[in-house]
């Protein structure tokens, strides 16, 4: 195996007394479609923010295709695309204007940015809504528009935080097929998700994060160890349910 596309070494971040990320190490090979899974508050978003140069780590190193994100942020940003969990776009631009703007921010000539924007909107099934304000887009349309913005400069590594949360099955399928095709071309994808079935289905590499630490990482088959990923995940992070006996009245159909 050659140099990893993403290498994370001893990454740490604390917010006051709370240690959100407690020293994670991670290697994702080029061409991988990798999943980062973990319960709520495990440190997924904080980790991805530090990997993409959006949040300054307390300690540690992140290398993207050998480029140190925090030593040379411009070089790293030039080769990555990011879709954050809480997709916030320029609401008062139309879909076409938004993607063109994202391209022009990446120093693309306006004509090329406009052409690529049209092609991406077409593939993302947003062509009919290209001239509508992003403010009027549904959740799924917004996720797809954000993905378009992240892909317009053809990055070699793509980070996505909960890309399919709140997305309808049809839009989810469009996103899933686009990511698979992108990874098969040799580019790398790292995305966080709660949806184990999705990760199991599309990812060739999985990392499980809990309480700010990577508790398992490897190929999807290695991590799940003969079980479903859901089962393996629950075993590793532990069940967190309350006592259900108190709900004895539920389902009796009496008031």
């Amino acid at each position: 195996m050659g140099d990893p596309a993403i290498a994370v070494l001893g990454l740490r971040k604390s917010f006051g007394a709370k240690e959100a990320v407690a020293g994670i190490d991670l290697e994702i090979a080029a061409g991988s479609l990798a999943g980062l899974v973990g319960p709520n508050g495990a440190g997924k978003t904080t980790s991805l923010s530090m990997m993409t140069g959006l949040l300054r780590p307390d300690a540690g190193k992140v290398l993207i295709n050998g480029v140190d994100v925090w030593a040379d942020p411009p070089a790293a940003k030039a080769i990555i695309g990011v879709v954050p969990a809480d997709v916030r776009l320029f609401e008062r631009l139309s879909g076409a204007e938004l993607l063109e703007y994202a391209g022009r921010l990446r120093s693309m000539p306006a004509a090329e940015a406009r052409e690529r924007a049209a092609q991406l909107l077409d593939v993302l099934d947003l062509a009919e809504d290209a001239k509508r304000l992003v403010a009027d887009y549904s959740t799924g349309m917004r996720k797809k528009a954000a993905l378009g913005c992240a892909l317009i400069h053809n990055p070699s590594v793509l980070f996505l935080d909960e890309p399919l949360e709140g997305v309808d099955p049809v839009s989810a399928d469009v996103i899933r097929r686009l990511l698979t095709r992108y990874a098969h071309s040799g580019s790398t994808v790292l995305f966080s998700s709660h949806v184990m079935e999705l990760v199991e289905q599309v990812c060739d590499h999985v990392s499980i994060i809990d309480k700010g630490k990577i508790v398992a990482t490897g190929t999807t088959d290695e991590v799940r160890g003969g079980k479903t990923l859901q089962q393996a995940f629950i075993e590793m992070v532990g069940p967190r349910a309350g006592d259900e006996e108190v709900l004895s009245w539920l389902g009796s159909s009496s008031s």
Binding site: L54, V82, P84, R88, R92, L93, R104, A111, K131
Partner: protein
């Protein structure tokens, strides 16, 4: 049902009290303010006693209260859960008892009580004799009932819209007339009244048409009863009662419909245009294009420009209305220009917090000092092409208003230099004093997030103070070149002021880029913490 909904309203208020120290403080201030409005309103209305225009003034006040009831719930739509039919649509409730309950819930709370207390001032200010006082009490009750029913009808009918993006835009736009009204009532009228520009007699006859509005019927009923015409008074109140019944009937119908209608009334219109403008100018052009589009499409941006115009005009208008003689206030329009330019700077002094989380997309392009310069100068281009003509037009208008057209040139020169200074200052403050913006319940406009109030103060001080200091050379140039012929001086003054302003903007861009270059992750965090 009425009891449950009143309890719900009181519980919502109590829970807001428990939520945080800020909420408690806000609640206590709200109660105190309601008390002041109630007692102050009572006192104010009682002052009309014996005035020839007392019924006219009372009519205006009654109409103002009705307007307040009409507008406030649109702002408070997300704040008061009992206003939104969608929150009650899940439960098996019949419309009629629900309507009665919602009406009772509306009447509960400090503000309705303050409203009643204030309007009862008419028992002193307008009513005469026992019959007059009796009619005043009934008229006040009907007036408050009218206000509540009207407010309920409007919010219920608009519930679908108020949930949508367009409804939220509308709430933001309503900020403009309310801000203008606050400035008028808080600055212009008191100042004009203090200088004799406005007296009680100025209101005589203003109710020529207002008297036929429902609030006018209530006010005139009190007058009629006091003047010994109880029949006419009764007829007016009966007409008002009919209006309330009709509004109530319409409201019940609207409520019936709202309970079974989807609340997503978001219509989206198709935009025209081939793409972003300024295609040839790289990052600077892209940023200028984005900011230019936002100045037209973003309600908050439009509100900021409207507020700038109002503030600029008010600085001179209060003086104009107070002292009407020509040449009485040399320099007042220049003062307007300085304050207007200062607020141009202040309203854009936190551009990253205002951009919100989508700044992260722009941050991908901000890789070095040069790109930051392009970013800041791009937004300055968009702001300048609006601010310069806007302030120029206002200054010329104000100069003609004070009957001193010669002051127009001096004021425009100061404004143009001031806009340059303001944009430079706003860049520096955006880079060095960025803070997250948050939308608070009850306000359609975003404000500094909790704990960042002092940053707002810093922004005002930095922008207005900075502009005042930086335009001093232009003001001095105006003062010391009075003897030079205007044909020579005026063009020179304008050109030099523009050049000086642009030089200040360039300096601001360079300083801001140097600051921002080392703070990009922190600026991204400010953006992420902001509400879009």
């Amino acid at each position: 049902m009425a009891r449950i909904l009143v309890q719900l309203k009181l519980r919502l208020i109590a829970n807001a009290l428990r939520s945080s120290t800020a909420a408690q403080t806000s609640f206590i201030f709200s109660i105190l303010f309601a008390f002041v409005v109630g007692v102050g309103g009572f006192y104010f209305l009682s002052l009309f006693r014996g005035l020839s225009a007392s019924v006219d003034l009372t009519t205006v006040i009654f109409c103002a209260f009705a307007l307040g009831w009409l507008v406030a719930p649109i702002f408070a739509f997300g704040l008061d859960g009992t206003l939104d039919p969608a929150t009650l649509a899940l439960y098996p409730l019949r419309t009629r008892p629900l309507a009665v309950g919602l009406l009772a819930a509306s009447a509960a709370g400090a503000w309705p009580a303050a409203n009643v207390l204030a309007l009862l001032g008419t028992t002193v200010g307008l009513a005469h004799g026992p019959l007059g006082v009796l009619f005043a009490v009934i008229a006040v009750v009907l007036q408050v009932l009218f206000c509540i029913t009207l407010a309920r009808l409007v919010t219920t009918s608009m519930a679908g819209l108020l949930h949508s993006r367009r409804g939220k835009d509308l709430a933001v736009f309503l900020f403009i007339p309310i801000f203008a009204l606050i400035e008028l009532l808080g600055q212009v009228i008191p100042n004009a009244a203090a200088h004799g520009g406005i007296t009680a007699a100025s209101f005589a006859g203003v109710d020529a048409w207002m008297r036929w509005l429902p609030p006018g019927l209530a006010a005139h009923a009190i007058q009629d009863a006091s003047d010994g015409h109880p029949g006419t008074a009764l007829a007016r109140l009966a007409l008002l009662a009919v209006v309330i019944i009709v509004l109530g009937w319409l409201w019940v119908r609207a409520l019936n419909r709202a309970l079974v209608t989807a609340d997503t009334a978001t219509g989206s219109s198709r935009l025209h245009g081939a793409g972003l403008p300024l295609a040839r100018y790289g990052l600077r052009g892209a940023v200028a294009a984005r900011f230019w589009i936002y100045q037209r499409r973003d309600p908050t941006s439009l509100v900021y420009w409207a507020m700038t115009a109002v503030i600029t005009a008010v600085v001179s208008a209060s003086t104009l209305l107070g002292d009407t003689g020509p040449h009485r206030h040399p320099g007042v329009v220049i003062g307007s220009a300085v304050v207007g330019a200062g607020f141009v700077g202040y309203f854009h002094a936190n551009s990253i917090g205002l951009t919100g989380p989508s700044f992260v997309t722009e941050a991908a392009a901000l890789t070095d000092r040069r790109s930051f310069r392009a970013y800041f100068s791009g937004q300055n281009i968009a702001f300048y092409v609006i601010a310069a003509p806007l302030l120029t037009a206002i200054c010329i208008g104000l100069a003609f208003g004070v009957k001193d057209p010669a002051e127009a040139v001096s004021a425009v020169a100061v404004a143009l230099a001031g806009v340059g200074a303001a944009l430079g200052m706003s860049n520096i403050l955006s880079a060095g004093l960025a803070y997250p913006m948050a939308k608070r319940t009850g306000s359609p406009m975003r404000q500094a997030a909790q704990g960042y109030g002092s940053y707002t103060f810093g922004g005002i001080l930095g922008s207005v103070g900075g502009v005042a200091v930086l335009v001093t050379p232009v003001i001095l140039a105006v003062a010391f070149t009075g003897s030079v012929p205007t044909a020579v001086l005026d063009p020179l003054l304008i050109v030099c002021s523009i050049a000086y302003g642009i030089a200040l903007t360039f300096a601001g861009v360079r300083i801001a880029a140097a600051i921002a270059q080392n703070r990009l992750p922190e600026l991204c965090q400010v953006a992420i913490q902001s509400t879009a």
